[in-house]
Every structure is written in structure tokens, then in C-alpha cells.
Amino acid sequence: MRAEAVRAGPATAIERRPASRTSTLYLFALPATLLFVVFVAYPILWVAGQSLYIRSGSGVSSFAGLANYVTVLGDPTFWIVVRNMLLWGVITIPVQMLIGGLLAYFIERHTHALRGFFRTMFFLPVVTSVSVISLVWVQIYAPYYGIAQEYLKHVGFVMMTSPIGDPKMAIYALILVNIWQWTGFSMLMYIAGIANLPSEVLDAARVDGARGWRLAVYVIVPMLAPATKSLLLLGVIGTLQTFPIVHLMTGGGPNRASEVFGTFIFKQSFVLGDTGSGAALSVIVLVVALVLSLLQIVTLGARLTPAGKERA
């Protein structure tokens, strides 16, 4: 009977479970559901509710419909943020994946005794405090007395301004820091992917004459697709969540040139005290994140690990 139920599939098996057992199963799901409702669903709904209210100067909140959304979308800073976020995603995600992938490939294929050392060194920025990273990079970028200037002066180059102090350069300077910090994470993901590659496939490819570049591009890269998809998904979400490095290095300046969603929401909500527009911005970011994630899952599939099951 039990064997038949198992063969018939999970749905049939559940249908045949007694009601008391089904209730017990729901009870097991209860703690996770409660945590989700209290710490995820309720705050999201609360923020969404706040986005429909405006607080007057005298402190009275009143229903404003979509006025906060109209205000936010009409604010030129919003479009600076959108441009910066696009640049951030378009530059950081592929560059981190490319450098991280190359590092992983060379460390795994061409180092032996020092493999652990290289892995640790390249992963170190990921686990370093953002405060420390921002302090160091502000010093690196400083002209005249900065760390980079100390080296550049030997080749006769004098930095006249700090890249993070130039409105045209600030966002790129921050993107560079972000790439430096997070490339180690991409490397680690690819190392995990390379370690899980089935050796028989690689052996078969070698027997068929695939070597070096051809083996990497035509065999290894396609087989690392789950890691690439994960990095893409995490990269998009990470881009939308960007905050500390920008807050600490430029505060979104100069003159809002390096503003990102995180710093914009923070300023609106906590510095200016405009909770309504801060909440509206948060909802917009949530919707963008949701749409982009769904889009990726629909177009690229949900197989995010080599052992995972293809669902789309």
C-alpha cells in the first residue's frame, strides 16, 4: 500500500493521508509562516500603506492617494537614481562575473599548493567591513595626499581632483569599489560550480579533442550556467539594495550625482522626514526587484544549482 502510494506520486500520497496528519504538517509550517508574516509581509504592507499618506508640517497624516508616487516620479533626482542604478547593474554584474569566473578558472585549474591562499586573498574584500573599505578607498582616491597619488607620482601623473568629488566620475568611482569588493563572491560561486562539474563530461570532451580555451568556452562555461544565473539574480537584487558604500563614501553627492535608491530612500525618510515619499520609493524598488526577478526566472529558468530541477 505504502509502495503504491509512493509510486502514484506525492499528490496522491497526500490525498490519502488522514486529516489529523495533514493538520500536523500544517503545524510544522506554522512557525515559518508566522515569521514570514510578522517580519516580511506585515512590514511590506505597512510601508505600502504609508506610501499613500502625507504628513503635514504640523505632524498630521492625511490620505493622499498616489500623490507621493507622482511627486517621486516628478523629482529629477529619481531619474538620476534610475540612471545610476542602470549603470551600476550593467557594469558591475558582468564585470564581476567575468573577473570572478576567470579567477576561479585559473585558481582551480592552475594553482595547487597555493590554491587556498589565492581563494582567501580574493575573497577577503567580501568579508571586510564596508566602513573599512570606504575609508581606505576614500584615501586611495584622494588627490595630492592620497595613496594612489603616491604611486602615480612616480610615473609623472598628478591627480587634480578626487574621482568621488567629480559629479561626472563619482558613480564610476563607486562602481569600481563595488567590483573590487564583490568579485571574490563571484569567484567563490564559480569555484563551487567548477568543483561540481562531472569529471566524466570533462574527460569525454578531452577525448574529443577539447583543450584549453575551447574546453573552457564550449564545455565549462555552459555547464556553469546555474552559477551564472544565480549571480545574475543576486547581482540585480544587490544592485537595488546598494547603500553603505555610497552612503559612506559620497553620501549620494556631489549634488546627488551618485545617488542610488538606498541613499535616496534614506534621505527622504530619515533626513528629510518625508516618510510618505520614502515609502513610495521603497514600494517602487520592491516592484522593480520583483519584476526583474520574475523576468529572469521566466527567461533563464529557475535552475540555480547544478543539481536543481528545471522548472521553467
Binding site: A142, T161, P167, N255
Partner: protein, 428 residues
């Protein structure tokens, strides 16, 4: 059985006694960004005078930790008894969560208590209150006066005198640069330091003009403010600020370089004296403030006076609605702002008092006493440095950065501040 009964009675009696002692000890919860080591001294002095009250202090970095913690606690009704505040926008954001202190203060310090607070502080205490609201929601603890600090040892070495004219300031900056020093360190990535310098400049052209502009009584595009904005740009173009200032932070970078003797001048305020009370090792310049002295911004245009003192409340404290239900909370707040707690902060040279009649005591050199006395002489006539609306301050920060970067002309930049002011005033 009798043994068991005796044991149970003993335990019960002990528990009741402990519970009663626990109930006798009152607790006050305090949140602030105020330096922990100094606050610990203030708390120790308070607890010595009030052994029945325990103070639990939580230190936060100001941004983003403190302001986000306040927002979350206010939303959930779990603010501590006493919170650190800045006058104007921060106080106004939490006005609904704060008790008006008028009656308590009158009872504590007498009917004329507000007159004992320096005028600029008194003005800032009600900044941003709705029309007709004469309540005070913040009690100031410390005041500050903005100035230009300079390293007098480096100046002596390079044979430079404290500048009295703009030409002398430019010459000093050049001599410092030629000597391998940073001339005047400006952390122009920080809006607050830019605001401070701009206030020095604007008040030089017309004392009190920024106050009038933020109240809507004078347009931000007034000729004096445009001139001040041009002078601001001049500080970058004339090599007075270091190259790349727009990407630099005053803290920790600028302050560290200044303390180490790598910077000639820096626009800070009276709080800089506290560096000499930090734990050793201290540099030869910071030790007893031996390396430092201050001056006010020299006239940036022929016919101008030097900048007047600009300043106001450095930090103040508010009694929350929760604290209003805890009588011990006011007792602590009163001692912290105008009693034993304040004295400890002054002894640490944390800044100047907000109330009259206090001065630092203890191990302080004549040089520090002399500088402190000069600040105290200037404080009563200081111009206001605070903004009632954060949106106006934010607009000014952006305008200053845009002009400094050369991406916007002074008039156009100030027009954006005017627009922000009109919007803020309309919202009120």
C-alpha cells in the same frame, strides 16, 4: 516538613526583599550620539548624587544608526526616556513624541530659566515650532562657535601670521602648499562642513541674512548671498582648500591629518578642543592644544568685516512621552544639561555650555583656558548656524557642491535653495 517550610519561607522573604530593593531603584534610558567616554563620566557624577537612579546609556553613530533607530522606536512607541537632539529639523521630526519641558524647567531653575541660556541657543530651541507654539521640546546641553583653526607651530615654522585679510589667507595657503602641507582641509563631501563655511561667508556680507532667507524674509538670490556663494567658489579656485576637497570627509580623514600636523588650517568649531582630552597617545600639536589656535574667516571682499561668530546648540536632549511618565528621567536630563553631568562634559572640553555660569575645571592649561574664554566671550553674540527645515539645508548642501564642482552658477544654485525654502514654508 518543617525544614521544607522554613526553607520556602526564607526563599520567599529573600525574593520579596530583593524585589522591593529592585523596585526602589529607578532606571533612566538614554540614547544619543554623544561620545561614550564623556557620557560615562556624566552618568557617574549623576549616579553619585542620585544613588537611587541608574542610567542606561546607548551610544549610536549619528548617521545612519541613530536617526534610523529613533524613527523605528518612535513608530513602535518604544523611545527611551531621554534622547539626544539637534535643534530644528531633528527636534521637529519627533515633536509629537516629546514632552514640552517649560513647566518642569521653570520648577527646576526658576521662572527666568530660559534667560540663562545663550540667545542663539534660545532661538534655536523653538526653531521650526508651528506658529504660536511657544513650547520648548529640547534642552540644550552644549553650545559651539564655528571658526578656522590653524596649526600655530606650522605657521611659526613657515613664518606665517594668522591671516587678517583674504590676500593674507591666500598667501598663507600658498606658503603651506609650497611647504608640503595641506592648506585648509575642507571635507566638502560632508554637507555640514560646507554649510558652516558658507554661513561664515554669508554672515560676513550681511549678519543674519541666512536666517532671514530661511524664514522667507529675504530671497536666497539676494546679492549678498550670491556674493557669498562666489566667495565660496573662490576658496576652491584660489587654492585655499586642498585639491579634491569635494571627495574628502572632515571626519575621520581631515581631523586625523589636522591632528597629525599635516594640515595648516581647518574650518571646525569650539569642539576641536576636546581632541586634547582623548586617550593617549596624542600628537605634540593636540597635547594640551599646544599646536592650535583659531581665527575667524578674514574679509573675503574689500570693505567686509571678518566673519562674525556663528554657532548655537551643539547637542541638546529631549524628554520623550515615555520619559514624561518617569520622574527620574527629568532629574537626569536637568543634571545633564545644567548640573553635575554638564560639568563633567565641560571638564572633558567636549564643547561650550549652553547655559550661562559654567566653565571647564580640572587639569586644563592656560592656553586652553584662554581659548575657551575667547569662545565664551563670542558665544552671546553668535549668529545662528542651524536650519529649521532639513529640505532647505539639503538644497543648500547640493547648491554648494554644484557650485564648487563648477557645474552650476551661483545664482542658479541659490534659486534651487529658494525653491526649496518656498516649498518648505508652504508645507508649514
Amino acid at each position: 516538613m518543617r525544614k521544607m517550610l522554613f526553607l520556602a519561607t526564607t526563599i520567599l522573604t529573600a525574593a520579596l526583599a530583593a524585589g522591593s530593593a529592585w523596585a526602589d531603584e529607578k532606571e533612566v534610558t538614554v540614547w544619543s550620539w554623544f561620545i561614550q567616554s564623556t557620557m560615562d563620566k556624566s552618568i557617574a557624577a549623576f549616579e553619585k548624587a542620585h544613588p537611587d537612579i541608574k542610567v542606561k546609556y546607548t551610544y549610536y553613530n549619528y548617521s545612519p544608526e541613530y536617526i534610523t533607530a529613533l524613527k523605528a522606536a518612535a513608530a513602535s512607541g518604544s523611545l527611551p526616556d531621554v534622547i539626544g537632539l539637534q535643534p530644528g529639523s531633528l527636534t521637529q521630526q519627533y515633536r509629537d513624541n516629546l514632552e514640552a519641558v517649560n513647566e518642569r524647567a521653570e520648577k527646576e531653575w526658576g521662572a527666568d530659566w530660559a534667560q540663562k541660556i545663550f540667545p542663539v541657543n534660545r532661538k534655536q530651541m523653538q526653531m521650526g515650532n508651528p506658529a504660536g507654539d511657544k513650547n520648548y521640546y529640547i534642552v540644550p546641553q552644549e553650545s559651539q562657535v564655528l571658526c578656522i583653526w590653524y596649526n600655530r607651530k606650522i605657521f611659526e615654522k613657515l613664518n606665517i601670521a594668522a591671516p587678517k585679510t583674504y590676500d593674507e589667507l591666500k598667501a598663507a595657503a600658498k606658503a603651506l602648499t609650497d611647504g608640503g602641507y595641506i592648506p585648509m582641509f575642507q571635507g566638502a563631501a560632508d554637507g555640514w562642513q560646507n554649510e558652516n563655511v558658507f554661513l561664515m561667508l554669508a554672515n560676513q556680507f550681511s549678519p543674519g541674512i541666512v536666517d532671514k532667507a530661511q524664514a522667507g524674509e529675504t530671497p536666497w538670490t539676494a546679492p549678498e548671498l550670491v556674493e557669498a556663494m562666489k566667495a565660496w567658489k573662490g576658496l576652491f579656485d584660489d587654492g585655499i582648500f586642498q585639491q579634491g576637497a569635494l571627495g574628502a570627509h572632515a571626519y575621520p580623514t581631515g581631523a586625523q591629518l589636522f591632528a597629525q600636523g599635516k594640515v595648516g588650517m581647518m574650518a571646525l568649531g569650539s569642539w576641536w578642543m576636546q581632541e586634547s582630552k582623548f586617550p593617549p597617545p596624542l600628537s605634540e600639536y593636540v597635547q594640551n592644544m599646544e599646536g592650535f589656535d583659531f581665527f575667524y574667516m578674514p574679509p573675503v571682499k574689500q570693505g567686509n568685516p571678518a566673519s562674525p561668530p556663528v554657532g548655537g546648540i551643539d547637542i541638546g536632549y529631549g524628554l520623550t512621552k515615555n520619559g514624561g511618565k518617569n520622574p527620574a528621567a527629568w532629574t537626569f536630563l536637568a543634571e545633564l544639561t545644567n548640573g553635575a553631568g554638564l560639568q563633567e562634559a565641560l571638564n572633558d572640553l567636549n564643547d561650550l555650555p549652553a547655559f550661562e555660569g559654567h566653565s571647564p575645571k580640572g587639569d586644563i592649561t592656560d592656553h586652553v583656558k584662554e581659548m575657551s574664554a575667547r569662545f565664551m566671550t563670542d558665544l552671546p553674540k553668535a549668529e545662528n548656524q542651524r536650519f529649521a527645515s532639513p529640505a532647505v539645508a539639503e538644497a543648500l548642501d547640493n547648491a554648494l557642491a554644484a557650485v564648487a564642482a563648477g557645474s552650476t552658477e551661483p545664482e542658479a544654485a541659490l534659486a534651487t535653495v529658494q525653491a526649496a525654502t518656498e516649498k518648505a514654508l508652504a508645507a508649514q
